[in-house]
């Protein structure tokens, strides 16, 4: 997407819609992350590799996702 178009869209004058969009973006990011962590684990990635890819420690990524399927 073109950055100018995104900036234009970000300046919506309805705060209710803008704030909901901000939360929706966060939800989307969380889901993308969780689904790809699950996919990486399925492909044999270690928690260390996933942590490196996400820029966090293996402990924090493990704590967040290790019981995802339990």
């Amino acid at each position: 997407m073109d950055i100018e178009k995104l900036n234009e869209n970000l300046s919506s004058d309805d705060p209710a819609l803008g704030l909901r969009a901000s939360l929706a973006l966060h939800r989307l990011a969380e889901r993308v992350e969780a689904n790809h962590v699950a996919s990486a684990r399925g492909k044999g990635w270690s928690w260390h590799q996933i942590g490196d890819a996400l820029g966090v420690t293996r402990q924090s990524v493990h704590a967040k996702y290790c019981k995802e399927s339990s």
């Binding site: 997407m1 178009k5 995104l6 869209n9 970000l10 919506s12 209710a16 819609l17 803008g18 704030l19 909901r20 969009a21 939360l23 929706a24 973006l25 966060h26 939800r27 989307l28 990011a29 969380e30 889901r31 993308v32 969780a34 689904n35 704590a63 967040k64 019981k67 995802e68 399927s69 339990s70």
Partner: protein, 170 residues
């Protein structure tokens, strides 16, 4: 769907919180909000009957609101990621279930809903889904649950009347 007079099931507030917290986690949220409380209440078919909407319709409406909001940013459909898998929720939760490290905390509005719902009961460890619903119905937009009820075209006054008919004592 009809709202018949049934004896409301007595629940522990933790049970409602944990169910709502799982809804929040499933959607990718950071906090458990009033909209998640509404979704968790809809697990009870008598609440579905009182509200006149199903759990599936409500989940769909919530996703549509998100899609609409993302659309304003130019992040269109097709970028939507699947919901996270559901985890089992204990029927009678223990303190260790509530205190789990990855349990999502409540938003201030959600906390207030639960606190107000248990207020009329002598034992603060007992609440009914109908009492929590009555508190949710008093919320105003831009609260997420109020916005969701608005998106579902739920007539709050009519629901209150049905709720009073189902639980005359509350």
């Amino acid at each position: 769907m009809t709202a018949e007079s049934v004896v409301p099931e007595i629940l522990h507030p933790w049970a409602i919180y944990i169910e709502a917290s799982e809804e929040a986690r499933r959607r990718g949220d950071r906090r458990t909000g009033t909209d998640h409380f509404l979704l968790s209440l809809l697990e009870d078919s008598s609440v579905e009957a009182v509200l006149g909407v199903s759990l599936q319709q409500t989940r769909y409406a919530l996703e549509s609101l998100d899609q609409e909001a993302l659309g304003t940013l130019g992040v269109g459909s097709g970028t939507d990621a699947p919901l996270l898998p559901t985890r089992a929720v204990p029927k009678k939760p223990k303190i260790r279930d509530v205190m789990k490290k990855n349990r999502l905390r409540m938003t201030p509005a959600a906390k207030k809903v639960l606190e107000e719902a248990v207020k009329p009961t002598r034992r603060k460890t007992q609440v009914t889904a109908q009492q929590v619903l009555a508190q949710i119905l008093s919320l105003q937009p831009p609260d997420p649950a109020a916005a969701l009820l608005g998106a579902l075209d739920v007539n709050v006054l009519e629901v209150r009347r049905r709720l009073d008919a189902v639980t005359p004592d509350s």
